[in-house]
């Protein structure tokens, strides 16, 4: 897929270090923000409790604030650890998915994630999906590959923030908002990270995580976002279980569908679908006992493929049928059995989901079990849940109470849960803001170019002069470019690999410089001892769309003239035998308006992907701007 993959190694030390640094910086800021919020809250609370009296004008307002605060604190008190105030099913979803989001955030902080998510996770997932899915996913993946550090860090903090928000939420509006945030982020992950959970690709199976683990996060978030009154009656539980029943029945049919390779342990000596899946999991980096267990299970499936699939189909169908009945007694046993079955699949087929350094979540079984368990708990509410009040003050009441002059009183009277929820939201904003800012920039982050080149060398040396001929046959000397910043490189006009990419980077650099482009000369010098006439530089310019770029100069000369320039700039050029292209080192130099070399940059374009090309252009334009500032 074009654009999605930067082509750089997920283990690239520059990118890993930058990712770690970004997480450390943002983590420190998050910590400071949390401490600050706590201090403000504690100070306001202390001030409010110790205030001797209030003036008549503020007293009425304080009373209004107390109404709200009392309501909030009462709610908070009731909902401590899912106490009598909060429905058990809702509490299970809130805490369970809060923990899962935090775990996902921590997994997202693995070193490979920033550079590797598109190539290790997104691309393989999308590979078998239809073209329109790949196109859509590629759009998201391209944004990631352009800004891997910001995207990686944003994913960490957004997920940790949503998880914390869910956990501390308790009752009232905060957890409902957290549920809505869970739906929004979950859908983004499901579409762009899981390619719609692979539902449009062949090989879909409940065993391996269909229809995508994050879709359960979305469903749970939607349930948490419901008004608390919805959890007071068994109706919600019936709906959740009916949905689960339909899902399980559908998955049973899918699993039983002939011709998909699940009924055979091996097909003509090759592993069947399930055997192949388990075998691929065996190769994941993991503790030895786990790989040994999987290897044994793989052998078992290979020998008893039909029986294993029959058991899976029957269990799924029976679970689906029982959930559809909505009968609490039956459902109770089905839930316990379903949990055990899900755990078995989680270990034996999904291999816990998060091992190997590139796992982004624990896959689908845990969230699925949480969801139908919550459905059962909602089906059988305890008496105090049914008798409980609604979610306290309405939104309109809360909005009426919110006035700027009331802010101090509201802060002082806010519950610890509310302060913690605000802190969680702050963590989300902290992660999302740099990514949003980066996304607004259509160019890639220069970190990619730095990762390829390992940094540039700052210099202040007189640039060796030259006298060559441009593509139009006119003489050009370095002196004739005095007053302009010169971005210079060495290109082979008949090169099949790097040189056209470097030329595109130079062209993009000119575009990025905008109005300052007129003060910059983009210069390439021929780096081929044989194919060096103006006919070739002109053909190269036409090929790369450079013929109309006014400040583009592709210079050539006699072999002795070129040889002198190559030597002076430390460029080695030689023809290789047996059909190989002419070899030369990729180099770019930045010469300021006074004729001094200010930067020397390795110009090897690396994988030459859209993101690395853009990254080099950004880096070169930054150097050009610095040199312009010195001129």
């Amino acid at each position: 897929m074009p654009g999605m993959n930067s082509g750089l190694s997920p283990d690239d030390p520059t990118l890993v270090a930058a990712f770690r640094t970004a997480l450390l910086h943002q983590g420190t800021i998050a910590l400071i923000a949390v401490v600050f919020l706590w201090l403000v809250w504690a100070t306001a609370r202390t001030w409010r409790l110790t205030a001797p009296s209030a003036t008549p004008s503020t007293r009425g307002a304080a009373s209004e604030a107390e109404v709200t605060a009392d309501t909030t604190e009462a709610d908070a008190g009731k909902s401590e650890r899912g106490g009598p105030g909060e429905a058990r099913g809702r509490w299970l979803l809130r805490i369970g998915f809060g923990v899962l989001w935090i775990l996902d955030g921590i997994l997202q902080a693995q070193p490979k994630m920033a550079a590797g998510l598109p190539s290790l996770v997104i691309e393989p997932t999308a590979a078998n999906s239809p073209a329109w899915v790949q196109h859509l996913v590629n759009w998201g993946g391209t944004i990631w590959s352009y800004h891997p550090i910001q995207a990686g860090a944003a994913s960490v903090w957004i997920q940790v923030g949503i998880g914390a928000w869910l956990i501390v939420g308790g009752r009232g509006p905060w957890p409902r908002l957290a549920g809505a945030a869970s739906v929004g982020w979950g859908l983004i992950v499901w579409v762009f990270g899981e390619s719609f959970g692979g539902i449009f690709a062949p090989g879909l199976s409940w065993l391996t995580g269909a229809p995508g683990g994050v879709l359960f996060y979305v469903a749970a978030g939607a349930l948490i976002a419901l008004p608390e009154g919805a959890w007071r009656s068994p109706r919600l539980g019936r709906l959740v279980l009916a949905g689960s029943g339909i899902f399980f029945t559908g998955m049973a049919v899918l699993q039983a569908w002939p011709g998909r390779g699940f009924w055979q342990g091996t097909v003509h000596g090759r592993p069947g679908s399930l055997t192949g899946m388990v075998q691929s999991m065996v190769s994941t980096s993991q503790p030895r006992f786990l790989s040994a267990l999987l290897a044994r299970f793989s052998s078992f499936v290979a020998g008893h493929g039909f029986a294993v699939n029959l058991v899976v189909v029957i269990v799924l169908a029976v679970l689906g049928a029982i959930f559809l009945t909505g009968r609490p007694r039956l459902v109770r046993y089905a839930v316990w059995f379903g949990i055990a079955f899900c755990l078995a699949d989680w270990v034996l087929v999904q291999d816990l989901g998060f091992l190997g350094g590139a796992g982004t979540d624990p896959n689908s079984m845990i969230p699925m079990a949480l969801l139908f368990s919550a459905g059962y708990l909602a089906l059988t509410p305890l008496p105090q849940e049914s008798a409980g009040d609604t979610a306290g003050a309405s939104w309109s009441q809360r909005l009426r109470a919110f006035r700027p002059r009331m802010l101090g009183g509201m802060v002082a009277s806010a519950s610890a849960r509310s302060v913690a929820a605000v802190a969680a939201v702050a963590v989300i904003v902290l992660g999302a803001a740099p990514m949003a800012s980066a996304t607004a920039n259509r160019s890639a982050d220069p970190i990619l170019a730095l990762a390829i080149e390992g940094g540039s060398t700052s210099l202040d040396l007189p640039a060796p002069g030259f006298s060559l001929t441009n593509q139009d046959g006119r003489a050009v000397t370095l002196a004739s470019l005095h007053g302009k910043v010169v971005l210079m490189t060495f290109l082979d006009p008949v090169c099949t690999t790097d040189c056209p990419i470097i030329a595109q980077e130079f062209k993009q650099t000119g575009e990025l410089l905008g109005a300052k482009d007129k003060d910059v000369a983009l210069v390439a010098i021929v780096a081929n001892p044989t194919y060096r006439s103006a006919a070739f530089t002109q053909a190269f310019d036409r090929q790369e769309g450079l013929a109309g770029v006014p400040n583009w100069l592709y210079l050539t000369g006699s072999l002795s003239q070129l040889g002198a320039v190559w030597r002076q700039y430390g460029v080695s050029v030689q023809n290789l035998p047996a059909g190989a292209m002419s070899a030369h080192n990729d180099l770019a130099v930045v010469i300021d308006g006074s004729g001094n070399i200010r930067e020397e940059v390795g110009a090897d374009p690396g994988p030459g992907t859209m993101s690395t090309k853009s990254s080099f252009s950004v880096l070169l334009s930054q150097y050009a701007r610095q040199a312009l500032g010195r001129s």
Partner: protein, 388 residues
């Protein structure tokens, strides 16, 4: 139980959902397209690609082109040009330097020179040229600012230096002199569409163009494949008007579609290799009249080429090889060629050489007394990874 839904209704809904999911998820993977750039020709109703592996003879010597190295997918396939200078029996590497040739090499010769065209590959979109007049010791660069066609007959030069190039898109360009060709001064002669719209093109139902050459009076000639059965698509440019070159298929092939796989100039005429139905035919022109050989059964054609005096050879699948000496000759099967044979070439004394490739090693086998004998090994210094 959910109010308003019966158990049967729910079950039906569940099955419908499952069916929908199954329908969405069980599609077969898309078939991937495949080119046949380095592949072979097999009989087909439609036009087939012509292999680039070939050999030709000029006054300087005998030249052979074969692909060596590793896989094309990793850009480790490097096409090589070998030369056996006239009057010698040893081959040597003569690949022109300065351009990566992973896209393939196309050769055209005159008695005095050999022109090599580099087919574009990866990020290169035009075709550098190289000309040698000293049996490959020195090369002069040239330029075709376009995508040279993927056929061994895509380039032609005549002794005066006039050149023809068949492009990938079916356009034919011409350069009036060797100097103009070197400087990239080519102009359009015609296109496949224009030729197809001409009277002989319509008669043929021209599908694709496969080779260019010059007639005995230095007129440009073009050959291709015809949709209409029984018609051979060889055309000649007579003062700006394209006409049929007059090549008629024998009556036995009137119901078969024909494709010209190769076309070359000989002293006083032309020679062509035709695929008609399931048969391969040789055809020779003395400038006014064409004669056609008896057929030879087709396997997949892995390489083909022309020798002196209108002779031609075929390297077929399964180690089979056939040669024919020229007008009036008949196809002669050669002994099964050695493993790895990539191309054949006329050898010294009227024999044939088989050039066998294994990675970066070339082994030359010579046909002597009815058997292939190894006569030479060349280690080609391939720079693996230099094009990736």
């Amino acid at each position: 139980m959910i109010s308003g839904f019966s158990g049967w209704a729910r079950a039906a809904l569940a099955l419908a959902c499952a069916g929908l999911v199954a329908g969405c998820g069980s599609g077969s993977p898309r078939a991937s397209g495949s080119g046949s750039r380095n592949g072979s020709v097999t009989p087909s109703a439609s036009a087939v690609a012509v292999p680039l592996s070939t050999s030709l003879v000029t006054a300087q010597g005998t030249w052979a082109i074969a692909v060596m190295g590793g896989s094309a997918a990793s850009a480790n396939n490097f096409w090589q040009l070998f030369v056996r200078p006239a009057g010698t029996s040893q081959w040597s590497l003569a690949t022109p330097p300065g351009v990566a040739d992973n896209g393939g090499l196309v050769a055209a010769g005159t008695p005095a020179s050999l022109v090599i065209g580099f087919r574009p590959s990866q990020n290169l979109a035009f075709s550098p040229l190289a000309t040698s007049t000293d049996a490959g010791r020195n090369w002069t660069p040239g330029l075709l600012d376009a995508d040279l066609g993927n056929e061994s007959g895509a380039l032609a030069v005549d002794p005066s230096g006039q050149a023809l190039a068949l492009l990938q898109d079916g356009t034919i360009q011409t350069a009036p002199t060797a100097g103009a060709a070197g400087a990239g001064q080519w102009s359009e002669l015609t296109t496949r569409q224009a030729l197809a719209a001409s009277t002989p093109g319509r008669t043929c139902g021209l599908q694709a163009l496969d080779a260019v050459s010059f007639g005995p009076d230095k007129t440009p000639m073009v050959a291709g494949s015809c949709e209409r059965p029984g018609v051979a698509g060889v055309f000649t440019d007579t003062r700006g008007t394209w006409q049929s070159a007059g090549l008629a298929l024998p009556a036995a092939y009137r119901g078969d579609r024909a494709q010209v796989l190769g076309l070359a100039a000989t002293s006083g005429g032309n020679v062509a290799l035709l695929l008609a139905g399931d048969s391969l035919l040789g055809a020779w022109s003395n400038g006014t009249h064409w004669s056609v050989s008896a057929p030879v059964a087709v396997g997949a054609v892995r390489a083909s080429g022309f020798g002196t005096g209108g002779s031609m050879w075929l390297l077929l699948s399964g180690g089979h090889a056939e040669t024919i000496s020229g007008t009036g000759g008949s196809w002669q099967a050669l002994p099964a060629v050695p493993a790895g044979t990539a191309t054949l070439a006329p050898g010294p004394g009227g024999s044939y050489d088989a050039l066998a490739v294994a990675g970066s090693k070339l082994t030359v086998w010579r046909l002597a007394r009815g058997a292939w004998a190894q006569v030479q090994r060349i280690n080609v210094p391939i720079e693996y990874g230099s094009s990736s």
